[in-house]
Symmetry: C2
Subunit: 147 residues, 2 copies
DNA sequence: TGCGATTGTTATTCATATTATTACATCAAA
DNA sequence: TTTGATGTAATAATATGAATAACAATCGCA
């Protein structure tokens, strides 16, 4: 029961692109090295985020460009872009017995509440900006360099 | 990426026990039939909920007894009792590169925010009471019987 | 005391989802 | 047209979830 690594990897992609993008070309191979995940996974996430309008990619010359300022990208944007099965955070058991009065009605009694909880979770994700993560990384790196 | 069926099954167990408990002995086999899941799974969840103090069980004579009034059991109590890996809702990729400044600091920059989002999710689950589900089931069954 | 019923628990298998890997087509720019 | 990157499919490896079988442990009752 965990949200897949795709989510944290995608945020890592954005943060690393912001950090390295000024100085060098950011490719799936470079990101793969920073993240420690397979380049194909990175490319898949790049593709997902491209479809969601968060980044631009180019073949050949390669490299990622972030299309929106990071302070306009929330955790929810990333979550929505890359996570599968996000439509149903809760997983209902398949076959409650239709001949049992409880089994027959459990769905109706539960679904609204689960949807509400899921909605609240998603809304909360909108409160975290990727730019804040990027800022913290800059700070942490500066602190390291100073010491 | 889904919360396992354990959670909804556990709520089903409580609701069915409340509904049937007055009239008959509620065993893992009975629940298994209502829920459509294997009795061993049910027993495992019974055991988890027993440890969490939500129900009492007995061998031999068998049957579940709910030890707390249902309006004192929230979705969070159930979630906490049965869900594995609930300590880390978000799944970090294992091996960010320690030699990369971003890979090296991504954890520190992200963990607090992920913990906060997780905490909010858990807090929200405390707003839903199992008794409300049970009440709705009673209502729905009565409506069916009337028609 | 011994029997039947039920929970408690382990081990095994099966199914599904996640991640890694290989391979190669596609495309953009020099 | 060559080079270097993305895009994507197919496959394998791994992890997790769930089903199942088997049996020990326990309780109540005759």
């Amino acid at each position: 029961m965990q949200i897949s690594t795709k989510f944290t990897i995608a945020i890592h992609i954005l943060a690393a692109t912001e950090y390295f993008g000024k100085d060098m070309k950011v490719t799936s191979d470079l990101l793969s090295a920073s993240i420690g995940a397979n380049p194909v996974i990175i490319r898949g996430l790049m593709s997902d985020m491209k479809k969601a309008g968060l980044i631009e990619t180019k073949r050949g010359p390669g490299g990622i460009t972030i299309t929106k300022p990071l302070d306009q990208i929330t955790f929810y944007d990333v979550y929505e872009a890359v996570e599968k099965n996000k439509d149903e955070l809760f997983h209902f058991h398949e076959a409650p017995n239709p001949n049992c009065p409880v089994g027959h009605n459990i769905h109706a009694a539960l679904d609204d509440r689960l949807e509400k909880a899921q909605k609240h979770f998603e809304e909360d994700l909108k409160n975290y900006k990727v730019s804040d993560v990027a800022k913290d990384i800059h700070k942490l790196i500066k602190k390291e360099e100073a010491s």
